[in-house]
Symmetry: C2
Subunit: 317 residues, 2 copies
């Protein structure tokens, strides 16, 4: 049987038809619909699934279930989206599953988008074959997902596993969520850019100025690329950032004891340069690492497809 | 059927015969055996179970299983104790379950002692009726346990949920475990005593000096009791300590989304004075608390019996 995975983002809805070997047979992308009301957005989501099935040359009778990843807090059992700030002008306490199920002819499963990504990577990507996985997606924020004993860990009422908002520095930097000292406030690319800008202000001779000028902006690459060229200010930023991130990962290892930790998002394009630094630092931040050891930190490999594949297989997680 | 729960501590082994209503019918306490070798300690543990059954006037045929809580890191499935520094001069990679099972005539289950405590409180204590529970035991260290969806959460290979070593302050105070900035380094009673001593050094006129002199020592009560009497230095210590602890609890709520948080250990004798402060602070430290709300923080009620009852019921968790 086939499955349909739908990854709902603030801008685009991606839908894919996935076979039992976790291969996406066909995928499409349609606009989410901006600030359209809830019913219109749900119709767009169901329609994206419909379209993916049609374009794949399949029929609903070939499809066992649809899984949908949502960027927000939701209870996967009741299907109520408690909070999704980036959808339709902000969803709050929306009976999403109940509504979308009426528009689709097969059973529907829903999950958080970061959770879908870790499911995808665990089944078919960089964590394939592992039963215990923690994944952090580094972007504007820090998304997180956990698989324990081969099952998706979501916490009470499905509202937990908000790894980006685990504390890293008590009473520390303000986070976009309103709290202070969250992992996201130190480890997101947004924060890395802030850290980069601060170092640039302090060192007018840093190579980062020329690099940013040529690139047209300061972004997550600025410090990393300049540190590779030997720029001291850039290296300082990178080493601080990696220590923050390794400390956050160490805390997650202490709590979840994964067999492997995955890093996703644009910054994971720094590949071995980033992973080698993190793997070298990790033992310093894991409880009893000298006895139990530490898991390897690896780059996620499926990119955007992780969310689609993971959503499609929510039914077995 | 009856069950036997055995709570193994560094000094005493407590064993209890427990009925299906979670009532301890009879309990005993015997010396653990100090630095005796592994085999001798395991015999003492099995003998404690035997003795409890005998003294309860029961027979092994009335007992469905034995559960044993161990102060250390262990894999509940394989029954291997990876690390237990306080047993027999320090256990490391010990096939505990395999060995103790040979000495007992019914199926044996093993778990970490802090995990047993949360099981006991969830089944029969302050969290009765809840499916999602986080418990912190504040003592020399900070022990932790988590129940999610009615099941004990132990992390990969049973080695996770070391909540006391989740980071609270990146690159912060040294922890007894060798890491820096662990929750334990700020929230244990050991740390509270350090914080108290520091405040006393800085304020020679604080009422804490007279209180400690009369008590014969500075302990977890010193700052709390003097703060109730209006001593400013003591109140400063208590408010800082409560903020640290509320921040750590907030992070755990963000990750696990329990329905209730329990505080165990001697400091929980501060009852409403402590719980009211923690409950008032908690929303400041929980992700999306204004939307999802926060769980109540309550005092654990079973005391030492939590470990015995929880161990007895490891088989259903």
């Amino acid at each position: 049987m086939l499955r349909v995975g739908i990854d709902v983002g603030g801008t685009f809805i991606k839908a894919g038809v996935v076979d039992e070997g976790y291969t996406i047979l066909h995928k499409i992308s349609v606009p989410t619909g901006g600030d359209a009301d809830f019913e219109a957005l749900v119709k767009n989501i169901a329609r994206a699934g419909e379209l993916a099935v049609q374009e794949a040359g399949a029929q609903w009778k070939d499809v066992s279930s649809v899984g949908i990843g949502i960027p927000g807090l939701l209870n996967p059992r009741t299907g109520v989206v408690v909070l999704a700030p980036n959808l339709g002008g902000g969803w709050r306490d929306i009976p999403f599953l109940e509504t979308v199920q009426k528009l689709l002819p097969v059973p529907v499963y829903v999950g958080n988008d970061a959770n879908c990504a870790v499911v995808g990577e665990t089944l078919a990507g960089a964590a394939k074959g592992n039963e215990n996985v923690v994944m952090l997606t580094l972007g504007t924020g820090v998304g997180g997902g956990v698989v324990t004993d081969g099952k998706l860990f979501v916490g009470g009422r499905g509202l937990g596993a908000e790894l980006g908002h685990m504390v890293l520095q008590m009473e520390g930097a303000p986070c976009g969520c309103g709290l202070n000292g969250c992992t996201e406030a130190y480890c997101s690319v947004t924060s890395l850019v802030k850290q980069t800008r601060r170092a640039m202000e302090l060192d007018q001779k840093s190579a980062m100025h020329a690099y940013a000028k040529e690139a047209g902006l300061v972004d997550g690459r600025t410090a990393f690329e300049c540190s590779k060229m030997g720029d001291k200010a850039a290296l300082f930023v990178v080493e601080n950032y990696c220590r923050y991130l390794a400390n956050a990962i160490g805390s997650l290892v202490t709590v979840f004891r994964p067999d492997v930790v995955l890093i996703g998002g644009g910054l994971s394009n720094q590949r071995e340069y980033l992973m080698d630094k993190l793997n070298a630092l990790l033992p310093r931040f894991v409880f009893a690492s000298e006895v139990i050891g530490v898991p390897p930190i690896r780059r996620a490999t499926l990119g955007n497809d992780a969310g689609t594949i993971g959503a499609a297989f929510l039914d077995i997680m």
